[in-house]
């Protein structure tokens, strides 16, 4: 079990190194989101943003759960000093957009306290059905804006994108954030 975990750690660190190296020669980095042996979607990231690919745990090492946690890819502008966090992931168990409402209600209070939702909208995003929920909340006694976006990436999977951060950070990176969201395209299948 320990060896498997270590091997996953090594793979994840190598992936980070590869992505960071790739950023120096590419204008925009294309990231393919892979989890549990499936390439689910791809998206574009500005070349001056750091990409953290997250990790996965082999389901066989989980003692009492066959529902492994999904990889969470987080994105951070390298030079940004304001607090902001952007992430994309495709959780197991959320297959249809109709399930996204409950999932967002579950996730939001775990990202921020005193969540106040100020905006909801169902809309097409890059040709796919999506749901946007945004508002404000508190973390470490600071008020942050947040946005959670659910996107039906194929018939049986919903991807999520999240932004949490200072309002000024959102304003500064709004164009890039929308660019990341609009660049999401489904991938075909197994690696």
């Amino acid at each position: 079990m320990l060896l498997r975990i270590i091997s996953h750690l090594v793979v994840a660190v190598v992936m980070v190194g590869t992505m960071v190296a790739a950023k120096s020669v590419l204008a925009d980095v294309t990231v393919i989101y892979e989890t549990q042996g499936q390439n689910l979607f791809r998206f574009q990231v500005p070349d001056d943003w750091e990409i953290r690919p997250g990790f996965e745990v082999d389901p066989s090492v989980l003692e009492d759960d066959n529902d492994p946690v999904a990889r969470i890819v987080s994105l951070l502008p390298q030079e940004e000093t304001l607090v902001m966090w952007t992430a994309l992931w495709a959780p197991t168990g959320v297959n249809q957009l109709s399930q996204a409402k409950e999932y967002i209600q579950d996730v939001a209070p775990r990202l921020l306290s005193d969540v106040q939702i100020t905006f909801r909208d169902d809309r097409m995003i890059n040709g796919r059905k999506g749901r946007i929920v945004s508002g404000t909340g508190i973390r470490n006694e600071r008020e942050f804006d947040f946005a959670l976006i659910a996107l039906q990436i194929n018939d049986n999977r919903v991807a999520f994108a999240a932004f949490v951060g200072e309002p000024e950070a959102y304003d500064r990176h709004e164009k890039a954030l929308i660019g990341v969201l609009n660049s999401i395209e489904p991938e075909g299948g197994s690696q």
Partner: protein
Amino acid sequence: MRRLLLGLVALTLAGCTSGGVYYGGGYSYDYGFRYGIYDAHYDYDVDIDIDRPDRPDRPKPPPGTKPNRPTTLPAKAPPRRPSSRPPRRMR
């Protein structure tokens, strides 16, 4: 134990990918937000609270998380000081 392990791995990775040093911007928040999503993942569709007795090995919640918090948003958000900023609309 599984959750504690995941938390440790996330923390380790966060340290590895930033050279072992937390610095400005959202870097110092990366672990906390990831943990929040993992927390929701394991509790998804399960109505439990932090003190669930059949998970005695569950790690402590992130700082600021109140015990016995609801797993869904309340119908009406609790009052707090009004923000001076207008509501944001996604464009």
